[in-house]
C-alpha cells in the first residue's frame, strides 16, 4: 500500500519517481488547505509548490515520527501564515480580473467537495474564525486525527477538541439558519 512516508523514504534513497507519488497524493488536498488561509487558488498552489520544494531542499528534517501528510500540512500552514503576514492583508489581484479567468481544469474545490453536504459545510465554514475553519478542515475534510490536527495547528489535543466543539456549535447555528441542515 502506498503511503507518503514510504514514498518519501524511497525518494531519499534515490527513487525520483517516488516524489511524483507524493505530489499525486497530497497536491490537491494541500492546495485546498492552504486556500483556506489565502482565499486565492493561484497563491495557494504557489505556496503548495513551496511546500513540496521544502521537502526536496531540506531532506533530512522530516523524522518519520508523524505522517508525511501532517508534516506537509504543518509546512503549508506556516507558508500560508507567512504569506498573509507579508501581504499585510492587502489583495494583490483585482477581483474583476480574477473572475474573468476560467479554470482550464476542474477546480480543486470541485474535486474535493464532490459531496453536496461537504459543499454546504464548506460554505458555512468560511463564516467561522480561521482557527475553527482549520480545525474543521483538518479533522473532517482531511480525516486527520485530533493529535495530528493539533500538530499542524501547533496546539495541544485538548485545544483542538475545544475548538471543534465550539466550531460545531457555531456551524449548527449557521447551517440551521441557511436551512441546509434542516
Amino acid at each position: 500500500m502506498k503511503n507518503g512516508e514510504s514514498s518519501y523514504r524511497r525518494y531519499l534513497d534515490g527513487d525520483q519517481s517516488a516524489f511524483d507519488e507524493i505530489m499525486g497524493l497530497y497536491r490537491n488536498s494541500l492546495t485546498f488547505f492552504i486556500n483556506r488561509f489565502v482565499h486565492d487558488m493561484d497563491t495557494a498552489e504557489d505556496l503548495a509548490i513551496d511546500t513540496f520544494m521544502y521537502l526536496i531542499v531540506h531532506r533530512h528534517r522530516y523524522n518519520f515520527k508523524t505522517s508525511l501528510k501532517t508534516y506537509l500540512f504543518m509546512i503549508g500552514r506556516s507558508r500560508a501564515l507567512d504569506y498573509l503576514r507579508r501581504r499585510g492583508r492587502f489583495s494583490m489581484v483585482e477581483l474583476s480580473e480574477a473572475e474573468k479567468e476560467l479554470p482550464a481544469q476542474p477546480s480543486v474545490e470541485a474535486l474535493i467537495l464532490l459531496d453536496e453536504r461537504k459543499q454546504a459545510l464548506n460554505r458555512a465554514l468560511t463564516r467561522l474564525p480561521r482557527d475553527m475553519q482549520t480545525a474543521i478542515h483538518l479533522v473532517y475534510f482531511e480525516d486527520l486525527s485530533y493529535e495530528d490536527a493539533a500538530k499542524v495547528m501547533r496546539k495541544n489535543k485538548k485545544q483542538v477538541a475545544n475548538l471543534l466543539y465550539r466550531s460545531k456549535v457555531q456551524l449548527r447555528s449557521i447551517l440551521g439558519k441557511d436551512g441546509a441542515l434542516v
Binding site: 505530489m23 526536496i56 531542499v57 479567468e101 482550464a104 477546480s107
Partner: protein, 208 residues
C-alpha cells in the same frame, strides 16, 4: 490558472534548484563578509594575548633579574635573602612627606631618594654622572659597621631595610640618600640592580 501535474513538478524542481543556487551564493556572501571580520577579531585577540603574555613574561623576568642581582655581589646566606623578601613584602608603599618616589610598574620594588635635609631641594642630589659615580663608589665603600650609618631614619620599615645613607659627593658635601632596597648582609651593603638602574636613569635625567 491551474498547473498540470507535469508543470507543477517542474516548478517544484525549478524552485528547489533556484533555492540551492541562492543558498550557495548566500553562503559565499556571508563568507566574504564574515571572513575579514573574523580575521580582524582574530588579529585584535592575537595582539591582546601577545600584550598580556609579554607583560607576564616581563614580571617573571624582572623578578628573576632582581633575585639574580641580589645574589650576584656575594653569596648571601639564604635566611638573609628570605628576610629581605619578607621585609620587602611588609614595607609600606606610601612614601614619607617630602620624598621623591619612583616606582616600577608592577610595584614589586621601589626606590626613594631624598635629601633628608629639610633645607635641601629635591632633585638636587644627583646632577651629574660624576656625582652618580661618587654615590656608587660611596655605596660600595660604605662602612661595614651598621652603626656608622648616618641618620637611621627608617621610614616605617622593619629590620633596617630602609636606611638613609650619607654620601660624600665630589664637592665634599654630605648628601643623604635613602635606599629602601638596601640590604646589609654579613656587613656588606647590597642594592638591588633595579635600584641602580632607576638611580642611573634618574641621574641621567637630572643631568640632561
Amino acid at each position: 490558472m491551474r498547473r498540470t501535474d507535469v508543470e507543477f513538478k517542474a516548478e517544484v524542481l525549478r524552485r528547489a534548484e533556484q533555492y540551492r543556487v541562492e543558498r550557495k551564493k548566500r553562503a559565499k556572501r556571508m563568507l566574504l563578509v564574515c571572513l575579514p571580520l573574523l580575521l580582524c577579531c582574530g588579529g585584535v585577540l592575537a595582539v591582546f594575548s601577545m600584550g598580556f603574555g609579554g607583560s607576564t613574561k616581563g614580571v617573571a623576568y624582572d623578578n628573576a633579574m632582581s633575585v639574580e642581582c641580589m645574589d650576584a655581589p656575594a653569596a648571601p646566606a639564604p635566611e638573609s635573602v628570605e628576610e629581605e623578601s619578607a621585609s620587602q613584602a611588609d614595607r609600606p608603599m606610601e612614601p614619607a612627606e617630602g620624598e621623591k618616589t619612583q616606582s616600577n610598574e608592577n610595584q614589586v620594588l621601589s626606590i626613594t631618594v631624598t635629601t633628608h635635609s629639610e633645607s635641601a631641594e629635591l632633585g638636587r642630589l644627583f646632577t651629574s654622572e660624576s656625582e652618580m659615580q661618587a654615590i656608587l663608589d660611596a655605596i660600595n665603600a660604605f662602612p661595614k659597621d651598621p652603626e656608622t650609618v648616618i641618620g637611621d631614619d627608617s621610614i616605617g620599615d622593619s629590620e633596617g631595610m630602609a636606611y638613609v645613607i650619607g654620601v660624600i659627593t665630589e664637592t665634599g658635601d654630605r648628601e643623604y640618600v635613602l635606599f629602601n632596597d638596601a640590604l646589609l648582609i654579613d656587613g656588606t651593603w647590597y642594592i638591588n640592580a633595579r635600584c641602580y638602574r632607576l638611580l642611573e636613569e634618574m641621574i641621567l635625567q637630572e643631568g640632561e
